[in-house]
Subunit: 592 residues, 2 copies
Amino acid sequence: MYRTHNCGELRMTHVGQEVTLSGWLQASRDFGSMTFIDMRDRYGITQLVFNIEDDEGLCAEARKLGREFVLRISGVVRERSNKNENRATGDVEIVVKSLEILNASKTPPFTIDDETDGGDEIRMKYRYLDLRRNPIQQNIIFRSKLAIETRKYLADQNFVEVETPCLIKSTPEGARDFVVPSRMNAGQFYALPQSPQTFKQLLMVAGLDKYFQIVKCFRDEDLRADRQPEFTQIDCEMSFVTQEDILNTFEGLTRYLFNTTIGIELGDFPRMSYDDALRLYGSDKPDLRIGMEFVELNDVAKGKGFPVFDSAELVVGICASGEAANFSNKDIKKLTEWMQRPQIGAKGLVYVKVEAGGFKSPVGKFYSDEDLTKWVEKFGAKEGDILFILSGEEEKTRKQLSELRLEMGKRMGLMKEGDFKPLWVLDFPLLEWDEDSNRFHAMHHPFTAPKKDDVSRMLNGDHETMKSLRADAYDLVINGSEIGGGSIRIHDRELQSKNFDLLGFTKEEAEAQFGFLMGAFEFGAPPHGGIAFGFDRLCAVMSGQSSIRDFIAFPKNNTGRDIMIDAPSTIDNTQLDELSLKLEEESSAAKE
Amino acid sequence: MYRTHNCGELRMTHVGQEVTLSGWLQASRDFGSMTFIDMRDRYGITQLVFNIEDDEGLCAEARKLGREFVLRISGVVRERSNKNENRATGDVEIVVKSLEILNASKTPPFTIDDETDGGDEIRMKYRYLDLRRNPIQQNIIFRSKLAIETRKYLADQNFVEVETPCLIKSTPEGARDFVVPSRMNAGQFYALPQSPQTFKQLLMVAGLDKYFQIVKCFRDEDLRADRQPEFTQIDCEMSFVTQEDILNTFEGLTRYLFNTTIGIELGDFPRMSYDDALRLYGSDKPDLRIGMEFVELNDVAKGKGFPVFDSAELVVGICASGEAANFSNKDIKKLTEWMQRPQIGAKGLVYVKVEAGGFKSPVGKFYSDEDLTKWVEKFGAKEGDILFILSGEEEKTRKQLSELRLEMGKRMGLMKEGDFKPLWVLDFPLLEWDEDSNRFHAMHHPFTAPKKDDVSRMLNGDHETMKSLRADAYDLVINGSEIGGGSIRIHDRELQSKNFDLLGFTKEEAEAQFGFLMGAFEFGAPPHGGIAFGFDRLCAVMSGQSSIRDFIAFPKNNTGRDIMIDAPSTIDNTQLDELSLKLEEESSAAKE
């Protein structure tokens, strides 16, 4: 038997008991005739005591142990003379009677502490050691708890968890698929799913009524900072529902998860149209912790002789209140430089300081105090506030101002830990016109239905009409992160076929790739819709962290490599032959 | 709003209420002035009534509806005059006031009933219709419930569910990997996991202590009858445990699952060594519902002049009691032919009928009644029983007798529905000597530890010694199906390295493929072990069904194809180029 208790379990009630514990040596301290060892496992840390006077040999042995050695000890629990109130087991210690080294350890390449001295690369290479660190281990445990509670809630609501296949069919739509060569079907490939979209719709056609799955999805993208080639979704679909039913169900799930896992009662879930989100925050995922809605100034800022504004399509700004009053000219200069970095690309940043009895602004010479008073009124600004104003081409300027707003939120300390502001963004356009490729893209995906009132316009309208179609598509945003999104789907063959037309599919392409789905719509497909939450992202947002990577036990790096196991790697020629494949270099070499 | 209630919900308490329901038309019947429609959803069937005298137009409309049309109706609940006691909603019906066709349906290619007229192929092509059939839908719902309860039990026992990666490293050990070409790392491949084995061990090194995951695994095998290229495991690992801890934990899980999902209180979980299982049942997964232990007859059957037995390595038999008494000579002849089919390959089948005052047997002329009495005593047979005896080379004969035993169990009706007999098979050999390839194979897998008492024999013994090593490896068998298996693992670098040696790895191969694991063992790896249950199989066994396919929403056929979506399929040349791959035919064509 390796243990009677774990390392987080012993309390005053155990004093006097003989116990056996196993765990890792976290730290040891020698004091004259005494040696103390902190022994750690997932559940906590327990202090062990060795006394030279009691057993000199045992104490000598204990003094030879290194960090991360795996030990089994037996001994008697006793009350500590100096208790450690920061530790659940801090009232007691174990006077060790016997000690066994279960496994030795080399010195770890970085410290196994909450704050470690290990850099990213070495932590990834020795991920199994990084995972011993409490903050990372707690992330993984939190993720597990969140999944359990998600399933509990959805199962209680009559959702059925159905596993959809991982080996599916490649479709050129959307992001790149990972493909899997088939040995038994030479020259053919499976694809790994980017989402179970078509399968969950088929489950609705099959009458499953309410489906969910916590499911791995795959995208072969050039990895940006916080993307992973494999990621996890809470994937859901419901039949006989309207948008309202779905919003209510997943608002319920979100409230439940926040409440049961981190003890947060979420407030309102306000709703905002996509158009309003762009107009007021320059983003379809605004962070509502910040405030600072955009105010348009065209009518009061143009035509006063300031050429930059006069020539701009849009003049728009935000008002920084409160803390902002402490922004010095130097701070503003730095902020301006930050906005001028190529990542953001603002030409400049105009400010107006609202001060006692007047304004301070570099554009003061173009605008009278009366002019600026009108600005201030539009913002509802008061003494001590600063207006920040950008101008230029409309879409670009809104994006830049959105970046500024977020940066100001950060600098002003408005993104408070434990403060969560959810938001539903609604009424997304159905289609997005892409000037470059001269074609429509699906704003959400090709299976999203137009709003009921837009159906006949979609079936009969002209090209321009298509740009104005709106969908019952919705995103859940929390603190500026997109947690999930979904839509009411098309369940009618004709409408689906029309949508593929609009997206530039030939009839043959649509049939070859999605014929099974359109076929299914002919056998009594119910009205249905759904949503998917990014599970990795949800974990990170609920924990107030910005990176998903430390919520994934074994993540890949930015080039898609697992540097711990060294994957991907080359495979045998036998394997390639069996798959009827050749590497390109190899076959060109053969031709030379 | 699509519905106020579902189709399985209405009872006498709802009589008089105005309700709205949506669902599929299961069946309709016209009787003079009345039309009845059974409307179906996942939750049940509700009877709708249309009356010509109330609303002629509506009734006419209802008479035009076809099977599987999707409808929304509103109406008033009333008590039925002739109640249907076989249906939960059978006390009531809805007098329909309004009807809307939400979607039409073509006539389905097979009937959507418990018993369908559709063959396998067509049911797979229209799997979304097959899934509407109650037995299949209930299988999928059962699977979901079983997963929920599995997670509940394990989470309550402090297990953490951790998602391990799907894109891992290919290793030539074991079955064939599915591989995934990496675009960002040209010429390199990921593999899909055959199991999360090394990752779950690393999680133990990481101190996660108790891990589980319900996880998709992948094997590129030539598919036998009831195999799938992707399948699901309940995968578990624990630290600081002995075999006993693991058996108890997963006996607990199994009891809990049977109890909560199908209301069965399982009896004992007897334990049997691998050697005993082969000796007594000729199989490492004996079905204990059957009885009929093997009895060896060498000492009483040889040397009496019957050349077949005299020249045999082993004479061994089973005794069929009770029902067996009804086996006519014709039945026995048929059974003999069944045994002589090439799949089994028995040369013949000797029987001895124990009758009032004597024996009947085709080998009677070689054996006196006194001889045969000794046989009967060995079996403990009584009047009315029949002994069935095989002979030949030992291993082959036991296998053949095992087949006969199972067939007799079937013919004698001993495999009763609702009767579940679990069994732990223990003490598997660590290594298996393969004459053909002249090398050892791991009986379980290369990470399985020898029993503690065998460690020094393994490190220091000679070749012959290796054949006698035993492992703390265990299988859970229920009703003759292997539900799961596992082992205590090696957690020591030297022992792991020795095991790779024995399995024929060079030092370089072992390091290249499993260096990360052996490296991890040097940083304080705890003693650990685990188990994995085949989840698809568990679903089928608990439901008393023999095929896993109908517990998988979207299964592949025997050539690994999904014939509904038509995958695998060819991919674009652009995709191949991006992956630096060529198809073999293509590149040879280019060379001609």
